[in-house]
């Protein structure tokens, strides 16, 4: 419901406000270039330069004859009412009268052609003189803003009050609310530089790097997983996030920041951290879907690198030119592939990077302790690892041969002759004529049945446990619980050694009691069958090592029934064995799928599936894995981790016809687009990523400083000077304050690309410090606030919505950096993932309460509390976040567990205060910084009374609402009240 104009109409609003005629080139871009641009040039007309528009057309006419409306075909066509002649054609958007007038005026006045504003060099002009001595001019920004306002006879808004100011600054610079104490100190500080001191304190906070690092991570499309079908985790991704936070906190100059991320590996004597920086372009997606062509997805990632670079630094959309010359902007398809060539010369690799400084110190200490002990262990392990590898090769071969010759259809099931059956408890058994065993006697809490069976003289590939009903059992069984259910928690099969099992399946499993749990090694999980009692059920298990019944005559089966609440043992059962092999009995589907691929085609993920399975089923491998785990646990881990980064590999780059990787055409060399001055190479040879990176931040390139200054403005005003921050091309918006934009761009460069300095300059301006309340007279003149006669109100970013809730309730962990975390996730979210291959291991410790930016980000199943507040999905570059306002957001902050926990914690926190009035006032101070009004306190007081009355008569509900807290009724009533403050629009809005 925001007053958002569709972007294709925004430029008219801008022009109207400036009392300028619409820009001619912008009109061409909007209405004409699709057919008369560099790509198509219909009728021989290209409306992209003065020479081109003056040229003779295919028809012999001239589109434009300067000064002569009658001779100008362009004018004749736009005025024509003849359907065949009329331009733009009838089915297209019509020109507005103001646009027609502007075109006429342009022709009459000589058809002058200006360079597109974004390509002109940055011009630093002196700020305009403001005549009114009382006008709030704190720095040149204000002069630029006030001059435009004055032209409309408008004044700026007064400075916001101090509560608002400290809250605005804290949200903008740290993404955290100020404490009431911090606010009081600031409000009471009468020093003339109180505000500046506050700014300095916030800029120096380590949380500054989190807030502004996260802005950058949007551009880096940062995530913790690969994307696409398999979407495997990237356990190293966070290391790059740490790099960004650190670089921002240290105020690494933006030019260096650029060079290290795009080409850190190419710097002379590149440090590991400089190599780590190149992980910026390793955030591209990876497709490991079976049968995917690696080259196709390498090219896909290279497209993304090319387009992301153009979007982030040049604010141009290159994507169109993948397939054809750009329709609007001056970018040929060939130029696209010249840019593409820089990244086509890159190669994915990993580099060992220190985990953290703390980890290095720890390692040095423990290494000294371990010393020689370690060497022995390492040598031993190396030998075992080698043996396992050769065993695996033989095993795979055996499996492949067996798979080739395996019979089709189901294996035969033969009833097994039970030689003996015993109970670990006091259960007794009665053999029935059909070969089944009926449990009798007292039902034990827990039990293990041990059954010895005789094998047929054949290859035995599996085992079936039948659970059978019987009239003697509760509800006819087949279990002995009151409801007739049972829980089989684990099954063990032994001959002379353990026979590993795989692919369990059953005709029916109870919800949350799947048959798979019988072989998961965990005694708390198992197979149950409710509500389908009174019926026969069966579970089948395949042997990972086939047993030759001719050689091995006997087999022992243990049936564990360790259900924690007890009394769920099997009432009547029978055991059958599977004779003969089919593909299914030989190995699980996932393993078979890999074994059917040539070894060379397998990726690391696929190899891991087989290796992990082998480690489970081979006795030697199993032992080795255990040893390895033990050794790993004992040995100090080197403080390094492999991180995905870039390196160089020269490739021939060809233009790809329609962007299709199988259709290469002309050879190209790396090079920049012609919209900006040519790239200089270091040694005059083939340009590389380092040349590209340095060129992006070179004094000759006017785009980067403007684009970056505009981005920073956006983060501090919610809107930009160029309202299309991702498009500085001809279809993009013109700057509302071009001179201000250039002044900021030149300041950025002049101050050595210091980001903190640019932020300092902006936030200390009077323009930034204005009130954000709308003024009725402005709604008439400038509803979009293009002129900035006030600040904007901005809803907080998704992560920050979470952070402020945790912060005010006192739960927030202040830890910075480190691996991603797994806060509570509602059930059913991870399960939507492909083949349910994703488990969310919910954190039980402090990491439940880390800032939102540390939440593990799974691309195909992103964290719902973040996505619902418009967090980008990290599948492609995000240059500006959407801000939407939906009922799902309301449901999230009202009901989601994380937010309910925050309300509860806040309630407990407030108990320390004297009385209701103090508590409610404290709550408002914590959440909204400012003191509450009497009316607000009254509203909240009524709610608190009502809640207290309710919980006094409903103590059980109170306990549930309060968690296990003491004084449950008070906590519950307060929680029901403070959550309302935490749901106000004001709380999640930067005013």
């Amino acid at each position: 419901m925001r007053l958002h104009l569709p972007l294709h109409l925004l430029f008219l609003a801008t022009a109207a406000l400036a009392a300028e005629p619409p820009d001619v080139q912008r009109i061409f871009a909007e209405h004409c270039l699709e057919c008369h641009g560099p790509d198509k040039a219909k009728g021989g007309l290209t409306l992209t330069s003065r020479e081109a528009v003056l040229k003779e057309l295919e028809s012999g006419a001239r589109a434009v004859v300067p000064g002569d409306l009658k001779q100008s075909e362009l004018i004749a066509r736009i005025l024509s009412t003849d359907a065949d002649e009329q331009m733009p054609p009838k089915k297209k958007k019509p020109l507005q009268p103001a646009e027609v007038a502007a075109l006429k005026k342009w022709v009459v006045s000589g058809a002058e052609w200006k360079i597109h504003w974004a390509y002109e060099s940055v011009k630093r002009v002196e700020p305009p003189k403001i005549q009114n001595p009382k006008a709030p001019v704190r720095n040149p920004i204000d002069a630029f803003i006030l001059a435009r306002l004055a032209a409309k006879s408008l004044g700026s808004s007064p400075e916001a009050n101090r509560y608002t100011l400290i809250r605005r600054l804290s949200y903008d610079l740290l993404g955290l609310p100020p404490t009431p104490e911090e606010a009081d100190t600031f409000v009471a500080d009468r020093a003339s530089d109180a505000y500046e001191k506050l700014v300095e304190r916030l800029l120096a906070s380590p949380h500054f790097g989190e807030r502004w690092g996260r802005h950058w991570l949007d551009r880096a499309r940062f995530a913790d997983s690969d994307g696409y079908e398999k979407d495997n985790a990237r356990p190293d991704a966070w290391r790059y996030r740490d790099w960004v936070i650190d670089a921002v906190n240290r105020d690494m100059p933006f030019d260096q920041f650029t060079v290290e991320q795009l080409a850190g590996d190419l710097l002379p004597n590149a440090t590991p951290e400089q190599k780590l920086a190149t992980a910026f372009h390793r955030q591209t997606l990876t497709n490991t879907e079976g049968g995917a062509d690696k080259e196709q997805f390498r090219v896909e990632a290279t497209f993304d690198r090319t387009e992301t670079t153009a979007g982030v630094w040049l604010a141009h959309t290159f994507t169109c030119a993948r397939c054809h010359t750009h329709k609007y902007d001056r970018l040929s398809q060939r130029e696209y592939y010249q840019m593409f060539a820089f990244f086509n010369d890159a190669e994915d690799t990993t580099a060992p990077i220190k985990i953290s400084d703390a980890a290095v110190r720890e390692y040095e200490q423990s290494k000294a302790k371990h010393g020689a002990k370690l060497k022995d262990l390492e040598a031993k392990l190396a030998a075992v690892t080698k043996e396992v590898a050769s065993r695996q090769v033989a095993w795979e071969k055996d499996l492949q041969i067996r798979l080739q010759t395996a019979a089709a259809g189901e294996p035969k099931i033969v009833p097994a002759k039970i030689l003996s059956v015993t109970s670990a408890g006091k259960t007794t058994f009665k053999a029935l004529p059909d070969g089944s065993q009926l449990a009798t006697g007292k039902v034990p809490a827990k039990d293990t049945y041990t059954v010895t069976i005789e094998l047929p003289t054949a290859r035995v590939s599996g085992l079936r446990v039948e659970a059978l009903p019987d009239d003697s059992l509760p509800r006819k069984g087949p279990g002995r619980s009151a409801g007739g259910n049972f829980v089989l928690t684990e099954i063990g099969v032994r001959t002379d050694g353990k026979v590993p099992l795989h692919s369990p399946h059953a005709d029916h499993s109870q919800v949350n009691w799947p048959v798979e749990a019988v072989i998961d090694g965990q005694p708390e999980t198992g197979w149950g069958i409710a509500p389908q009692t009174g019926k026969e059920h069966a579970a089948t298990f395949y042997f990972a090592r086939v047993v030759d019944g001719a050689k091995t005559r006997k087999l022992t089966v243990t049936l564990d029934q360790q259900y924690k609440s007890g009394s769920h043992s099997l009432g009547r059962f029978r055991i059958g064995v599977l004779v003969g092999e089919t593909a299914e009995t030989i190995a699980p589907l996932a393993v078979r799928e890999v074994l059917e691929m040539p070894a060379a085609d397998r990726g690391e993920d696929q190899a891991k599936i087989v290796r992990d399975y082998f480690a489970k089923v081979d006795p030697v491998a199993q032992q080795a894995a255990e040893q390895l785990a033990a050794a790993n646990a004992a040995a100090p881990k080197p403080p390094f981790m492999d991180v995905r980064v870039l390196t160089t590999k020269q490739r021939e780059t060809k233009v790809l016809h329609r962007g299709e990787f199988l259709s290469p055409t002309d050879l190209v060399e790396p090079g920049g687009p012609s919209i900006v001055p040519a790239i200089k190479t270091r040694n005059g040879e083939r340009a590389d990523r380092l040349d590209l990176a340095r060129w992006l931040v070179s004094p000759e390139n006017p785009l980067t400083p403007r684009v970056i200054a505009n981005q920073f403005w956006m983060h501090l005003f919610g809107e930009e000077i160029v309202r299309t921050p991702g498009d500085f091309g001809v279809r993009g918006e013109k700057p509302t304050h071009p001179e201000l934009l250039d002044w900021l761009a030149s300041e950025l460069v002049r101050n050595g690309w210091s980001r903190k300095q640019l932020i300092r300059t902006i936030v200390t301006s009077a323009t930034y410090r204005q009130r954000s309340e709308m003024r009725p007279e402005l709604a008439e003149i400038d509803p979009l606030n293009l002129l900035l006669a006030r600040q904007n109100r901005v809803r907080l970013d998704a992560e920050i919505v979470r952070d402020v809730h945790l912060a005010v309730s006192g739960l927030l962990s202040s830890k910075i950096g480190g691996p991603s975390v797994f806060p509570p996730l509602p059930p059913g979210v991870a399960e939507i993932r492909y083949a349910n291959n994703f488990k969310w291991a919910e954190a039980k410790d402090e990491s439940r309460f880390r800032r939102g930016m540390y939440t593990f980000f799974k691309r195909t199943a992103p964290y719902p509390d973040l996505i619902v507040f418009d967090c980008p999905d990290a599948n492609s570059v995000s240059l500006k976040r959407n801000i939407s306002n939906t009922p799902l957001q309301a449901l999230t902050t009202l009901n989601s567990r994380a937010f309910a926990e925050a309300a509860q914690a806040m309630a407990k926190r407030l108990l320390a205060d004297a009385d209701d009035a103090a508590r409610l006032q404290h709550c408002v101070r914590l959440c909204l910084t400012r003191p509450a009004t009497t009316a607000e306190l009254a509203t909240l007081g009524r709610l608190l009374d009502q809640a207290r009355a309710y919980y006094t008569t409903h103590p059980d509900e109170a306990k549930a609402a309060a968690g296990d807290a003491d004084r449950a009724i008070e906590v519950a009533a307060l929680a029901a009240t403070v959550r309302i403050v935490m749901n106000t629009d004001e709380f999640i809005t930067r005013e």
Partner: protein, 493 residues
């Protein structure tokens, strides 16, 4: 007028009538309305207010039944006697040269006939295999398109193409475009709902993303048991009366602040909370099937048991009931005005074990979908509800011989060159088979339909011109149909 609407109305009116200078903003407002991009002034504070289509049309809602993983058209819809005849023969070199496969090894690839029996159904004589006896009875309602083709042959990219019109991330899905263009008539429920069962799709949440459109246009996953929508339940120990009292207090606080800050965004937030509160009762009511007649539950097969077939890929036990429930919920959703329902089941990716697992999946899908179409028709909803059955691509006429293994060929590989989709209702001309493949089902030989054409036609059925339904993002006017798409006139009733 409600004070909320009044607040919004005020801002809008000011905006539309302001004629500050030059061109003036009046024209701008008029253009916005003409483009259907802003609702008329005074519209309610509704995140998805209904908007008029570009031209009058029948379809109002869509149920897209997405069979993820690619069902075998050759074993369900497109009988090929010649393929059966050539069973075990190699494919002519001319066909093999140009194609890529995911897993098939060209050298030893052999054609694989279908074991299914096909018969003709309905007055129109539409072919169905023996796996779809119930759908076959709806033949005269159905449009069967045998000439679909796509550009992608890996699952996730092809799924993106089918849902977004292009195999690229960050684009809106069909349901997003429809709700963006038309809003939604559902007052107490989201406009775009996703119902999924099975083992999880390749595309995950990207299959109902809103891409560059705001998240209000994203699909909202509903579960068919427990809490239907995330965070619908009040926090532990919070009774409905305190939720209501809390929201009343919240509205007071927000109104006070609205008066102070004058920002219509606050009015929107008040409205969002009210809609959220209504959803808290509307969504549980939606999934409560106790008011449905036993005959209806029976017809959809809500009480069926899974047959005793082992089908790893279909996603474990309980799929029959889950899918039947989802189909019934789809009807209940469109009854309540929900614009787009995506019913997803994963997976149909039968690289092996086709003859066992396809019957399992078909058995799961057949009866509920047929019942859904019949039920919609009986309730007079079929005319305004477009039902689509489809997937991201089809399966090969060749048997899949991974690793050159020829001994155990039991499945088919990915086939983007020809596949089948079904449609009914919503202005579709039923009882017709459209398009034709060659005698082994390899290529389309008559009336090819690209995914973009399908999308263009789908939008047309809703009264939307696919060339005009655009959204500017980073300098480009994006469409569901990317840079292509032709409306298939023959499909229209």
């Amino acid at each position: 007028m409600h004070p909320l609407d009044h607040a919004i109305h005020l801002t809008r009116r000011d905006f539309f009538t302001s004629a500050a200078s030059g061109l003036g903003l009046l024209g701008l407002g008029a253009m916005l309305q003409q483009d259907g991009l802003l609702a008329a002034p005074g519209a309610s504070a509704d995140p998805l207010p209904p908007r008029p289509p570009h031209f009058p049309a029948k379809a109002k809602n869509c149920i897209f039944i997405f069979m993820e993983g690619a069902p075998s058209q050759l074993d369900l819809f497109d009988p090929k006697p010649k393929l059966n005849e050539l069973n075990g023969q190699p494919l002519p070199d001319s066909l093999l040269e140009k194609v890529r496969f995911a897993f098939i090894k060209k050298e030893t690839a052999r054609l694989m006939g279908s074991k299914r029996e096909f018969t003709k159904h309905g007055q129109c004589g539409m072919d169905f295999s023996d796996l779809l006896p119930h759908l076959a009875k709806r033949a005269d309602d159905l449009l069967m398109v045998r000439s679909m083709h796509t550009d992608q042959f890996n699952h996730h990219p092809a799924q993106l193409l089918m849902q977004c019109g292009r195999a690229t991330f960050g684009l809106p899905t069909i349901g997003s475009w429809l709700t963006y263009g038309l809003g939604s008539a559902a007052r107490d429920l989201p406009g775009y709902v996703v119902l999924a069962n099975g083992r999880g799709t390749s595309g995950g949440a990207t299959l109902w993303q809103s891409g560059f459109l705001p998240s209000v246009y994203a699909g909202v996953p509903f579960r068919n048991q427990g809490e239907p929508v995330l965070n619908l339940k009040n926090p532990d120990g919070l009774p409905p009366e305190l939720q209501r009292a809390g929201l009343d207090a919240l509205a007071e606080l927000n109104y006070t602040h609205l008066a102070r800050a004058q920002d219509p965004e606050i009015a929107s937030r008040i409205a969002s909370y009210e809609l959220a509160f209504r959803m808290q009762s509307a969504a549980p009511e939606l999934i409560d099937l106790s008011q449905e007649k036993p005959a209806t539950l029976e017809a959809y097969g809500v009480t069926r048991e899974d047959p005793p077939i082992k089908a790893d890929r279909a996603g474990g036990p309980g799929q029959y009931q889950a899918f039947a429930k989802n189909c019934l919920l789809a009807r209940r959703l469109v009854e309540r005005g929900v614009r787009f329902v995506n019913v997803i089941h994963a997976s149909w990716d039968h690289h092996s074990n086709l003859d066992k697992e396809l019957p399992f999946n078909a058995g799961m899908a057949d009866q509920p979908i047929a019942a859904l179409i019949a039920d919609l028709k009986e309730r007079g909803l079929l005319d305004e509800t477009l039902v689509v059955w489809g997937s991201e691509f089809g399966r090969t006429p060749l048997g899949e011989n991974r690793n050159g293994n020829t001994a155990n060929v039991t499945g088919r590989d990915h086939h983007p060159y020809a596949f089948t989709m079904l449609m009914a209702g919503g202005g579709i001309k039923g009882g017709q088979v459209y398009g034709e493949t060659d005698e082994i089902g390899w290529n389309v030989v008559r009336d090819p339909v690209h995914v973009n054409d399908f999308h263009a036609t789908l939008l047309h059925l809703f009264g939307l011109d696919h060339l005009k339904l655009t959204h500017r993002f980073q300098g480009r006017d994006f469409r569901l149909t990317d840079v292509a798409g032709n409306v298939v006139k023959a499909w229209l009733a």
